[in-house]
C-alpha cells in the first residue's frame, strides 16, 4: 500500500481529450496490489485507452469477480459505475446488467482463477451469448490473492515458487474462446502497452464480446526462473503475430487511409482496425485458420500475441433476442410492470 495518494500535481503539458478531460481524470484510487504487479500495468493501459477514446466516465460500468485482478476496477475511473461480484460470477452479473441497460459501456476484469476455474461455465455462456462487453482476463497462472496456488492456466512443467512443477494441462482462454464461438479474441502482455492499448480500443468498438487475455506476471508468486508466466519468460517467448492500428470513426481520417494490401476490419461503430503486418496466409476473420495457426505456433513454445480474431457479423445478446431498444430504467413503470391482469393473461397463454 503506497504511503500517499497520488499527488494532484500534474504535468504542465498534459493534453485533454474531446471531453476536456486529462488522462489523470481516468485514474482511480491507489493500487493496493504488490509493487510491480502486471495487473497495475494493465490498469494503466485501460486508463490510457478510455482517455484516448474519450469515454464519459459516468457511462462506463466496471465489473469484476474475486482475485487481485478483480480488485483492479477500483484503480481506474473514479467516476464510473461498478460491481464486484462473487468469485467467478462476473460474466453472469454483467450479462444481467447489460440485459437491463444496453446503453452503458461494460468492461469486466477477471483473472485466470476467476474465469478459468470457478467461473469457467459462466464465462463460456457469456461468450456464447455474445454479450457486448470487454472481457479482460489478467492471466498470471496463479491464484495471486490466495498466495500463489497454480491456476487452470498454469503450463505443464511451470514451477511454483517453492519448486514443484505443475502437471495438469492448462486451459488456454484464447483457444477456448475460439472453439465456442467468441467473436473477438486477442492476447497481449502487461509489459507491452504499445500493443495492448490499440487492442483495447478495438475491443471497445466491437459488436459483441471482446475477449482479451493479457499475460500479467504475478511479481510475488510467479515471477521466478521456473515460471512460464514471468516477465523474463514472456519477453523471451512472446511472438507478435499481428500488429494493429485502431482508426476511430472519423471520416476525414478514413478517407485518407489507403487500404491497398492492408487487411482491415470495419468495426460495428464505423471505426477500422488495420492489420499492419500479418503472417503469410493469416486471415483474422477465418476462425479455423486462426485456430490451426495458433495451435501450431503454441506447440513450439511461442506465446502468440496480437488481435487474433474478429468477426463483426454476429449479433450480440440484444440483437439476437430482439429486446427493446431502451434501457429498462427508461421505461415507464406501467410498461415495465403491467400489473396482475397482464400477468394472468401471460400465464394463461402457457397453459
Amino acid at each position: 500500500m503506497p504511503s500517499i495518494a497520488k499527488p494532484v500535481a500534474r504535468h504542465p503539458s498534459l493534453e485533454r481529450n474531446s471531453l476536456g478531460l486529462t488522462i489523470r481524470d481516468y485514474e482511480g484510487s491507489m493500487s493496493t496490489l504488490c509493487a510491480g504487479c502486471g495487473h497495475d500495468s494493465i490498469t494503466a493501459a485501460i486508463v490510457r485507452t478510455l482517455w484516448e477514446i474519450s469515454m464519459p466516465p459516468h457511462r462506463l460500468v466496471k465489473m469484476s469477480g474475486i482475485g487481485c485482478s478483480s480488485k483492479t476496477p477500483a484503480y481506474f475511473v473514479y467516476g464510473a459505475h461498478g460491481f464486484n461480484s462473487a468469485h467467478g460470477r462476473m460474466p453472469t452479473i454483467t450479462t444481467g446488467a447489460i440485459a437491463a441497460n444496453r446503453e452503458l459501456t461494460y468492461i469486466g476484469v477477471s483473472g485466470d482463477g476467476d474465469s478459468l476455474s470457478i467461473g469457467i461455465g459462466h464465462m463460456c455462456h457469456a461468450i456464447r451469448r455474445n454479450v457486448k462487453m470487454v472481457y479482460l482476463i489478467e492471466n498470471n497462472g496463479v491464484y495471486g490473492l490466495t498466495k500463489g496456488q497454480f491456476s487452470a492456466s498454469a503450463d505443464v512443467g511451470s514451477k511454483s515458487k517453492r519448486g514443484e512443477a505443475n502437471r495438469m494441462l492448462p486451459i488456454d482462454p484464447v483457444m477456448l474462446g475460439l472453439s465456442i464461438g467468441a467473436t473477438f479474441v486477442a492476447r497481449s502482455f502487461s509489459g507491452d502497452k504499445e500493443q495492448l492499448v490499440p487492442i483495447l480500443k478495438a475491443a471497445f468498438a466491437h459488436r459483441g464480446m471482446a475477449l482479451v487475455d493479457v499475460i500479467s506476471p504475478c511479481v510475488t508468486f510467479n515471477d521466478h526462473s521456473g515460471s512460464t508466466k514471468s516477465y523474463l519468460y514472456t519477453r523471451k517467448h512472446e511472438a507478435r503475430a499481428t500488429e494493429t492500428d485502431f482508426v476511430p470513426p472519423a471520416t476525414e481520417i478514413l478517407a485518407s487511409i489507403s487500404t491497398n494490401g492492408v487487411t482491415s476490419v470495419t468495426m460495428h461503430d464505423g471505426s477500422v482496425v488495420r492489420f499492419r503486418s500479418l503472417p503469410a496466409g493469416y486471415d483474422p476473420t477465418d476462425r479455423q485458420k486462426v485456430m490451426s495457426y495458433l495451435q501450431e505456433r503454441q506447440s513450439s513454445g511461442e506465446i502468440v500475441t496480437g488481435l487474433l480474431f474478429a468477426d463483426e457479423t454476429v449479433a450480440d445478446l440484444h440483437e439476437a433476442n430482439n429486446t427493446c431498444d431502451a434501457p429498462l430504467n427508461d421505461l415507464p413503470y406501467e410498461k415495465l410492470c403491467p400489473g396482475a391482469e397482464t400477468l394472468n393473461w401471460l400465464q394463461d397463454e402457457f397453459r
Binding site: 500500500m1 503506497p2 504511503s3 500517499i4 497520488k6 499527488p7 494532484v8 500535481a9 500534474r10 504535468h11 504542465p12 503539458s13 498534459l14 489523470r24 493500487s31 504488490c34 509493487a35 510491480g36 504487479c37 502486471g38 497495475d40 500495468s41 490498469t43 494503466a44 502487461s190 509489459g191 502497452k193 506476471p217 511479481v219 510475488t220 515471477d223 516477465y231 523474463l232 519477453r235
Partner: protein
Amino acid sequence: MKPTDVKNPDYYHKVVDCQWACPAHTNVPEYIRLIAQGEYTGAYMLNRESNVFPAILGRTCDRPCEPACRRERIDAKPVAICRLKRAAADLRGEIAHLMPKIPAKKNDKRVACIGAGPASLTVANDLMPLGYEVTIFEKLDEPGGLMRSNIPSFRLPERVLSEEIELILNMGVDARFNTPVESMKELLASGFDAVFVGSGAPRGKELNLPGRAGTERIHIGIDWLGSIAFGHTTSVGERVLIIGVGNTAMDCCRSSRRLGGKDIKVMARRPREFFKASAWELEDAEEEQVEILINYAPKSFKVENGVVKGMEFDQLVWDAGAKNSQTVGTVFLPADDVILAIGQENAFPWIERDLGIDFDKWDTPIVDPTTYQSTRPGVFFGGDAAFGPKNIIWAVEHGHQAAISIHNYCHGNSVTDRPPFGMNLVSQKMGISEWSYGNDYAPVTRQKMTHVDLKERFDKLTIEVELGFTSDQIAKEVARCLNCDVETHFTAKRCIECDACIDVCPVQCLTITRNGEEEDLRTRLSAPAVNLTQSLYVSEDLPQTGRIMAKDEDVCVHCGLCAERCPTAAWDMQKFELLISYAGEEACANQHTAA
C-alpha cells in the same frame, strides 16, 4: 546517450534547482525541512554556513533561487524560500555556542580588507576561525557597506543588520572605521600578507542633460539614500521624479514616500517587461501608490534660481523587442526633487596604476573569475568591486572564494588549486512505503507576506514593512517544498521492466525506451521533455530488453512513488548532500557514503 554519471556531484546538485541557482549554494531543502521540524536554530546555522547573513538575506536577497524553484513549474509560484530564511532567523534560539571557535593562538598571517561590506565581512568570517588576523579598513563610521547606507531600514531594520555583522566583528576582527584607504601603495607597504578589496561600486551615474547645473535638488540616488540612512536628509518635496527603474529607483521612490513625497513618479525608458527591478519590488512600490510611467526618455531639466521646476521627456514608442524607439512627442512634468537612479560603477582613484594591479580599458580591475586574484599576486577583489554592481549573495560568494585563495596564497599554495565539491547520498528508506522525509504533495498555494497597514507604515522611516510569516503560514509554506534533494536514484541491473514506476508517476517523468541521441530521446518520452535547461537522466542498458530508463528531471515532485511501487528497489530515494569547501577545509573529507 551515455549513461548519466550521478557520481559527479553536479548531476544531483543541478536537480536541486534552488541550490544550484544560489551563488553560495545554500542547502535550501534541508533548511526548509529543519524549519518544518521546528529546528529554527539548526536551519539558521545551516544557512549561515553558506550565505553568512541569513536574517539580512531573508529580507533582502535577490533570491535567484526562487525563479529557479521547481514548484513554480507545476504550481505557478515558487516556494517562498527567502521569507522562510527570515522565519528561521526570527525564531532561532541562542547560537553563540554554535559559532566557529576562534583560536587564541594566531597563525601569524595578517590580511587587510578594504571596505566593511558583505564581501569583506565574509572574508573575515572565513579566515578568523583559521587563526588569521584580519583588519578591515572602512571609510564610514559604521560597518555594512550598502546594506547599511543604501538598503532602507523599512526593508532591513538596523537591529537585524547590526546583529549579524557583530557576529563576525566579535570574532576579533580589527575593524577601523572612519579610515578610508587613500593609497594602495601605502597599504601594500604596511606588511599585510594579503589584501582583499571589497570597496564596492560606490559611484552613482550622472545624467548630463541641459539644465543639470545649479541646484541641490537633483540627487544621485545612492548618495541620497546614504544621506537618509545617516540622518542628513530628512525631507523631500511633494513632487518627486525618479529617473530609472532598477532596485535603487524602487528604494528611492519608497523612501520619498516616507519623507513627505506625495506625487511620486518613477520614469522608465522601456516597457515593463524590460525593467531591472524584480516583480516583487515593483509590487511593493505600487502598493505604496508610487506611479510607474513607461516609455519616457529624459530630455532636459528645468531649474530656476537653484529651484527645480521639473523635467522634459521624450515620449517613446518601441518596436516589438524594445530595441528601437521612435519619439512621438514631448511632455513636461513638474517636480520639486529629481533623483537619478540609473546605475552605479566601481571606481578606484586610490589605487595607484603602477603597482602591477592592471585595469582594462573601462578602468575596471582585471580580476580572475575563479580565484578573484588581481594581476598582482596577493591582491584580491570581491563583491561589487570585482565585476561591478551585483548583490549581497554574490558578494558573499566572492568572499568565500577569495578567502580560499587567500588561504592558499598565504600558505604558499597555488591559488588555482580549488577544493572540489563532494557529495553524500543516503537512502531515505525507513520501511516498506515509509520514508524519512515528508513525501506527500501539499496542494497549498504560496503564502502572501503581510505588510504593516498603509497608514501606519509611513509614520516613521524605520518601520519594517513586512511582518514576517505567521506560524500557520510557515507551516503551509514549508510543506510546499518538493524536497528536490531527495533524489530518485536508479540501479539498472535490478530493473525487471514491469512499468510500475512509469505508471504511477503523477507527472510522467519516466520512460523505458530504446536509447538514442538526446534530441531524439527528448521527443520519445512519456511526456515530451521540452525544458532544455533540465537534465535527462539515462540509465545503463536494462537487463531484460536492453532498453534504457530515462527520466526527465523537469517536474519530478520527489514523491517517492516510483520507488514505492518498484518491486526490486531499482529506484530508491536518496538524500543528496552537496559538500562545499570553504577556506581551510576540504569538503570531500566529510564524504561518508561512496555514491
